[in-house]
C-alpha cells in the first residue's frame, strides 16, 4: 500500500517551543509548513470528538504572530493597513478581534488572518496584533514591508508560542487558571497574567466551538501547556483533528480553499467586506471585488454532503452531465461529528444553490453530492450569557 499524496521536499524542518512536550506525550510528529508538528496523539477521530464534547489543546505556534506599530505617532497604522485589506479597522473597538484578508492588486487572496487592536500601553500611539498563516507568514511580512510606510514596524513574534484551547468546556478549564477570561465574548481579546507571564488571550478559534487562543512567551509555553492538560476537561489534540474540525465548521483553509486565484466573493467571505469599505473602496482589487459582489461571481465556494462512505478529497473534479470538469474540490474528508464524508468545492454560480445535486470524479470513480449550506456542524460561539 502507498499514500496517494507525495511528500513535499523538506529543506530544513524547525522545532517549535513545544516540540519536546508533544514528543513526550506521544504526539506523532510530521513536517508541516517547515515545522515539526503533532498530527495526532491517540487518533484523529477520538481527538475530534473530544474537542466537540469537552476541550482540546492545540499548539498553533507555527502561525505568524505579528505586532504592528509605528515609530512616529503621525503615521496612521490603521489607515495604512486598511489599504491592504477590506476590514474596517478604524471602526474596530479596542480589544476586539476581526477576521480579514490580505489581498493582491487584482483582489486575489494572499492570506486570511485575525487582527486585534489591543488596548494601548503608556506611550503607544497604535498597535495592531495579527495572526497569519504559517506557510504564508514570511510572504505576508514581505508584502507589508513593501506596501506600508517606512515608519511602520512589523515584529514577527517568534519568541511567543500560540496555543488554542477549543471546546464547550474550554472556558471552565482556562478560567480556573486565568480568572476573568470567562467574561469575554466571542471575538473579544485582552491581556492577562499567569504565574508572572503576560498572556494575550482572545475568545476565538478554528473549530466552530467556543474557545480561546493564547499567545504566551516561549519560555512559559511548556508550563502553561502542562497546566492546561492537567485540567480534567483538556487533552492535547493534533493538526489532523484541527483540519476535520474546521472543515465541519465550514471554515476555509488558506492554500487550499483560499488562494491568489480566489477572491473574497468567490470564497463566500462577503462578511469580510465591511460596509464602510465597500462604500469607500480603497482596498486592493476593490473594483473587481465590488463588481463581482454586484453581479455574482463566476464560481463560488460551497459545502458538499457526499453520498456513501468514501471521502472525496482536495483535487477531485466537479463534473457536469457530460463528465467535463466544471469545478474543483478544495478540501474534503470524513467528518467525525457528521458521520459522513463532506467537502468544500468551487462550483459554477448556477450550481452553488443549496440542494443542487452534483457529481464529483476522483480516481476514475464518480460520487454524488449535494450542495449544502455551511457550517456542517452548528457554531457554538459564546456571544454572551
Amino acid at each position: 500500500m502507498s499514500d496517494h499524496d507525495d511528500d513535499d521536499v523538506i529543506i530544513e524542518t524547525l522545532a517549535l517551543p513545544l516540540d519536546g512536550w508533544h514528543r513526550a506525550r506521544g504526539g506523532r510528529m510530521v513536517e508541516f509548513a517547515g515545522y515539526w508538528m503533532p498530527v495526532q496523539y491517540e487518533g484523529i477521530m477520538a481527538e475530534h470528538l473530544w474537542t466537540r464534547e469537552s476541550a482540546g489543546l492545540f499548539d498553533v505556534s507555527h502561525m505568524g504572530q505579528l505586532s504592528i506599530t509605528s515609530d512616529e505617532a503621525a503615521t496612521d497604522v490603521v489607515a495604512a493597513l486598511e489599504a491592504l485589506m477590506p476590514a474596517d479597522i478604524a471602526g474596530l473597538a479596542r480589544n476586539r478581534a476581526r477576521y480579514s484578508l490580505l489581498l493582491d492588486a487584482g483582489g486575489g487572496i494572499l492570506d486570511d488572518l485575525m487582527l486585534t487592536r489591543p488596548a494601548l500601553a503608556d506611550g503607544e500611539s497604535e498597535r495592531v496584533y495579527m495572526v497569519v498563516n504559517s506557510a504564508t507568514k514570511y510572504d505576508d511580512v514581505a508584502h507589508m514591508i513593501e506596501h506600508l510606510p517606512d515608519a511602520i514596524t512589523i515584529n514577527l513574534m517568534e519568541d511567543h508560542a500560540l496555543l488554542a484551547l477549543q471546546g464547550p468546556k474550554a472556558v471552565d478549564a482556562l478560567a480556573r487558571l486565568v480568572p476573568g477570561v470567562e467574561a469575554m465574548v466571542f471575538m473579544q481579546a485582552g491581556g492577562f497574567a499567569w504565574q508572572g507571564h503576560d498572556l494575550w488571550i482572545s475568545r476565538s478559534g478554528y473549530t466552530g466551538e467556543d474557545g480561546f487562543e493564547i499567545s504566551v512567551p516561549a519560555e512559559a509555553a511548556e508550563a502553561l501547556a502542562d497546566a492546561l492538560v492537567a485540567q480534567p476537561e483538556v487533552k492535547p489534540i493534533g493538526l489532523g483533528a484541527r483540519d476535520s474540525l474546521r472543515l465541519e465548521a465550514g471554515l476555509p483553509l488558506y492554500g487550499h480553499d483560499l488562494t491568489p486565484e480566489t477572491t473574497p466573493v468567490m470564497a463566500d467571505l462577503g462578511f469580510a467586506l465591511f460596509k464602510r469599505r465597500r462604500e469607500q473602496g480603497g482596498f486592493p482589487g476593490a473594483e473587481r471585488i465590488l463588481a463581482e459582489r454586484a453581479s455574482g461571481p463566476v464560481s463560488k465556494r460551497v459545502g458538499l454532503l457526499v453520498e456513501g462512505r468514501q471521502p472525496v478529497r482536495e483535487g477531485a473534479s466537479v463534473v457536469d452531465a457530460e463528465g467535463s470538469e466544471v469545478g474543483r474540490v478544495t478540501s474534503g474528508g470524513f467528518a467525525p461529528s457528521v458521520g459522513a464524508p463532506i467537502a468544500m468545492a468551487y462550483v459554477p454560480a448556477a450550481m452553488a444553490v443549496p440542494g443542487t445535486r452534483i457529481q464529483l470524479a476522483q480516481r476514475g470513480k464518480v460520487h454524488a453530492a449535494t450542495v449544502t449550506a455551511m457550517p456542517f456542524v452548528p457554531h457554538r460561539y459564546f456571544r454572551g450569557a
Binding site: M1, S2, I44, G240, Q310, P311, G333, F334, R363
Partner: protein, 123 residues
C-alpha cells in the same frame, strides 16, 4: 497455512491455492482511523502488484496492492459496514479479499513474519 508480507505492508495467508490478503498491524497504525475500504469484486483478475483495494483514513487514501497474481474469490463484506475492523483486527477479521493463486512461485519473493518484523523495525 503460511503467512507472507510485502514491503508495501500487505499480508497474505496461503491455504492450498487460496490466498487471503490484508494490511499489517503496522500499516493500520500508520494510517489511523479507517473510515472506508473499497475491496475488489469476485472474478477480478489481478496481477502481482496491481492496485487491488483502496483504504481511506480520516487523513488520506492509500492503495492496497495484490501481493501475488490471481482471481478474486471474494471481498470482505464486513468492511463495508465496519471499516474500523481494519484498525481493531487488521491481521484477522479485517482481511480485504481472498483470491485463487495463479502462480505459487510468486510467494518466494515475499517476507515471512520474522523478516517483516525486522523490515518494520528499520522504518
Amino acid at each position: 497455512m503460511s503467512r507472507y508480507f510485502t514491503e508495501d505492508h500487505e499480508w497474505i495467508d496461503v491455504d492450498g491455492d487460496v490466498g487471503t490478503v490484508g494490511i499489517s498491524d503496522y500499516a493500520q497504525g500508520q494510517l489511523g482511523d479507517i473510515v472506508f475500504v473499497d475491496v475488489p469484486e469476485e472474478g477480478k483478475q489481478l496481477a502481482k502488484g496491481d492496485e487491488a483495494a483502496v483504504v481511506e483514513s480520516v487523513k488520506a487514501a492509500s492503495d492496497v496492492y495484490s501481493p501475488v497474481s490471481g482471481t478474486v474469490i471474494e471481498g470482505n463484506p464486513a468492511l463495508t459496514d465496519d471499516p474500523s475492523l481494519v484498525n481493531s483486527d487488521p491481521e484477522a477479521e479485517g482481511w480485504f479479499f481472498k483470491l485463487s493463486l495463479k502462480d505459487a512461485g510468486e510467494l518466494d519473493g515475499l517476507m515471512d513474519e520474522a523478516a517483516y518484523e525486522a523490515f518494520v523495525a528499520k522504518l
